[in-house]
Symmetry: C2
Subunit: 454 residues, 2 copies
Amino acid sequence: MTYDLVVIGAGPGGFDCAVEAAHYGLKVALVEKDVLGGTCLNRGCIPTKLWLGATSAIEELHNQAKVKVASGEVVVDFTALQARVQKHLTGTRKAMAMQLKKLGIDLVEGLGSLGETGVVSVETSDGEQQLAYKKLVIATGSKPTFFPGIEPDGDCVLDSDMFLNQEAMPESLIIVGAGFIGLEMAQVAHRFGAKITVIDAMDRVAPLEDPEISKGLQSIFKRWKWDMRLDSRVSGVKTVDGKAQLTLFDGEKIIADKALVAIGRGPVTQGIGLEEKGIELLFHQIQVNEYMEAAPNIYAIGDANGQIQLAHAASHQAQYVAAHAAGKISTPYVSGPVPSVLYGAPEVMRVGALENEAYLMDFETCEVSRAQLAANPMAQAHAFTQGFVKVVWSGGKVVGITAVGHDVSRLVTAATMIVNQGWTADDIHSIIFSHPSLDESLLMALKTERTKIQ
Amino acid sequence: MTYDLVVIGAGPGGFDCAVEAAHYGLKVALVEKDVLGGTCLNRGCIPTKLWLGATSAIEELHNQAKVKVASGEVVVDFTALQARVQKHLTGTRKAMAMQLKKLGIDLVEGLGSLGETGVVSVETSDGEQQLAYKKLVIATGSKPTFFPGIEPDGDCVLDSDMFLNQEAMPESLIIVGAGFIGLEMAQVAHRFGAKITVIDAMDRVAPLEDPEISKGLQSIFKRWKWDMRLDSRVSGVKTVDGKAQLTLFDGEKIIADKALVAIGRGPVTQGIGLEEKGIELLFHQIQVNEYMEAAPNIYAIGDANGQIQLAHAASHQAQYVAAHAAGKISTPYVSGPVPSVLYGAPEVMRVGALENEAYLMDFETCEVSRAQLAANPMAQAHAFTQGFVKVVWSGGKVVGITAVGHDVSRLVTAATMIVNQGWTADDIHSIIFSHPSLDESLLMALKTERTKIQ
């Protein structure tokens, strides 16, 4: 038997691709070496969101206590929380497996690699299995990356996978790498009372974001008494006497119960026969054309192609590839604006172009407009009023929106639609924004006077 | 001097109309008999949201405690909260007054009424003042209504204004009228530990919503052990021996510390000379044409015209009327879909047509699709998984969206855009929804199989 489609990797990209292809009537096999759901479900976004949700009362109480409206104590039982996370993950994986079964998708458990042309061989627990395919999708995802001297040892130096599997939260924590992964986990540890040190080689946190966003985050973290070591290079971190001991380039040592190294993630593309099949890799990223093809009849999606490391980007690519493989679409892939979110309190949202990107595209018509959250009654209600919404315009159209502050993730879908549709000033009145709502801060930012970027 | 525009009433409609008109270069006077901000700011949405925000940790803790992840206690100091509310209101009114001053709008404090043609007379503390106008906007808002036997006495029987001005939360509370106002306030009292009884003459809570939404709310309130007296008619409620004593038509008596009567609001349109000027009133609502005109050169907006009792609807009408009065627009007023939100936990959101409305419009092509929140990781993270999103379709286009459950207010702006744009199935893929997000439950509801309404 030859499958219409074989998918390697059952993360958000691979799983959604298999499901979508089955909906199109294709006969599909899905190959997975570990468990269904990939990093996002099992070792990433989902467990972190469960942690953030379970501890949100701590942060809400803290904010109301600061304005002397509330008092008391919220204690989160980390062991119970971890059990709840596992229960949720197990349940979700079970539902996913049932969905595969219902759709007639064959789940093949084992490490898949490219064999002879048109065949994937899978090392299953029952020996090697050969899957003949007409089309193949590589959705092998990514894993944490490190440089020499800061590799996790699983003792006191952890990567994000190990951090999520801890049995207790440390009382002090060093975060190496101030990207979204590190900052979300640091927020959770902070809520559990951990003393936080954040170290980044860049001169600001969330270095992929608008510099004003980084500044907004830093001002909040400083109020929380986080030790912010920016523009600081790490020469090494290791376990010494049951503690994480980090050494900076200048020789200074920082000691904490644990260190979380979250400096980035890289594609999982080695040792599965890709290069042997003529598939081009650049920094381990599978190079694809505008149809997401890495080679004839072979697609690569999600973190494996290195274009955008976000679960929803992988899912969106997956849906396109399923349609393309089923012959339902022949035009090149267009993602449209891809939103990104840092959850917690504060949150960050971004979609579309940053100010500097818009400036490079067309500096003559590039403008920005802003609204502070301080004026918003919902931010006031939650006693968390730091932050702002910023809109980037080019040629009189909205090309980017970003925000930092309380609950700003709620702006993300409307913002994605506005950027995708390239709203002009006239379009703003087409929609009634509910009052009161945090969403009105987006409306304010859209309506307020714009300034030209210098 | 003759004003280009005189506005009576400085609530969300009147205030926004004055500001917008001044932006168009009109010379504007704003007449207000009480304080800036109207019901919404001073006696309605804003204080309620500040109450809900300040007590949200109680609800978050409660939900995590139910799944045995968290324990502890959150105590909200009601006196401190009330002081914070007053501080916020004062600050907001001050900012509004400054905005008026900056824009050169004359604030005239006193009761305005229609005098001779083209003149508003205002009873100020310095005597009567005559304001000559070219155009007039009536934005006098609304106030709670009652029927004989259930009038508030300010002692133990309260209207929403009195309820918001309490010095302490009652330990037991009867809510007469299960609309959004009553249900939001009941949620706050519940968080403070009050025993809640809800009474409505209709057979369900939130009777303006989809019956499934009402059912969703009721199931949650029942779990909270609220005493739900639906399909129950009240013959009277009064203060007896320092308690609120309510009598049902069947003679049963219900006693609680306080009773909140929130059965509806009616326009404030009496005694200001409207009828004498030939302005038509129907059930006290000012009748307007498609340009929001009640008579030549006289507009009526917001709750006073009785079309939609929502602050953002008033603001939207205000912006239209300012543009119309300034000669910037001559086409009839079109509101587009008007969103409505019940805040709290659970929340409700609705925009566009309900199922039964769509069925009446075109029963042949009317369909619905649904997604449960239980599958959503954000609902799971907050341990509040009851609820759903429901999409109503007509002729293959989205004509309505409603939802009940944790944090569903965050869907409202995207939903308003989708209904306004009349999305078809094909449009769904134009936007990437962030993962994980509660917004994905809206995506699920849009994508899932539709059923024809029988």
